[in-house]
Symmetry: C2
Subunit: 197 residues, 2 copies
């Protein structure tokens, strides 16, 4: 416990490379962006299952497990939405350091926030996945009834209604949910990770 033994121990520190090796995978984050109701969660769930079935170590970050815990102090002002994305990106970074493949699903409508997220990762660790579904389709699905509330003015600053969605200009992958089945989309994602069979 002396300072010198303390220094010595640095050599043995378990790190990202060691964790990646035992997990037999390259830790990274797949950042799903798209409108509410675009299918991000469906794709995320199916992808995580596919990765799990192949023996990979994963974690899915989404509004459900973040907004009620880590970010429960945040609302939906411009500042708070930005801070929400910042914290999620930092947690994803810690999880990538922990050797995991992280699947983050957040509307994340602003390019500047998505670019900020990418900027804290090493090259090749961050994949921006644009889930491209027309807003008419998202609104027709309206799985949580949010579009209806937004149209009625009960929710303010709702992406696609009275707040903009900035379409990714250079995503690592665009998933057109009108032309691809979920299974086909998952295959494309596995291919992106070079994990297809």
């Amino acid at each position: 416990m002396s300072p010198s033994s303390n220094l010595q121990l640095q050599h043995f520190h378990v790190n990202k490379a060691a964790r990646a090796k035992v997990n037999k995978q390259k830790p990274c984050v797949l950042w799903f962006t798209g409108l509410s109701g675009s299918g991000k969660t469906t794709l995320s769930n199916q992808l995580e299952q596919a990765l799990f079935d192949r023996g990979h170590r994963t974690y899915a970050l989404d509004g459900d497990n973040v907004r009620h815990g880590l970010n429960k102090d945040l609302g939906f002002t411009e500042h708070d939405r930005k801070e929400n994305i910042r914290r999620v990106a930092e947690v994803a970074k810690l999880m990538v350091d922990a050797g995991l493949i992280v699947i983050a699903t957040f509307i994340s409508p602003f390019k500047t926030d998505r670019d900020m997220a990418r900027s804290i990762f090493e090259p090749g660790e961050f994949f921006e996945i644009y889930v491209d579904t027309p807003i008419a389709t998202c609104e027709a699905r309206d799985p949580k009834g949010l579009y209806k509330k937004a149209r009625e003015g009960q929710i303010k600053n709702f992406t696609g209604i009275d707040s903009p969605y900035e379409v990714p200009l250079q995503p690592d992958l665009t998933i057109n949910t009108h032309t691809l089945s979920v299974d086909q989309a998952v295959q494309q994602l596995l291919q992106l990770l070079q994990l297809h069979e």
Copy 2:
């Protein structure tokens, strides 16, 4: 991608139990509390190495990887120190959900903050480890030169100097660093996790 297929997919969601099973471990958090210089980091490093060598999936959260990222917006006011601990506890919870054994090393001098951390975990998931080292020893070591600065008034609200450390009343384990070697302490920690050989 229809709402109905969305519902169906819920059955297949990868969860904590599934991750614990493939990782062959019970996910939990070991929360090390103690004065600056008490030996928390030394113990944490050695424990993580011992767990890694046994094939366990771990992650160590500490000031180094949190203060420069997730919590870089926080200072050292009472509010910010509380928020620092709250966020770390929430990240640890997400990582436990991800199937990991999390080692958190934070001075965390206040009982109310440590109790808050414990409160967000399920019973049996949170272990409070008190690293019990006399302040005279910590100050003599002073590995980062912080006690010197605190004595000189360059650092305010320094735990043990001009800010209190509330000794844990019912920790899950107390490690007396004057009577135990690092190896012996690690054995006690493995025993606590029922992982001793």
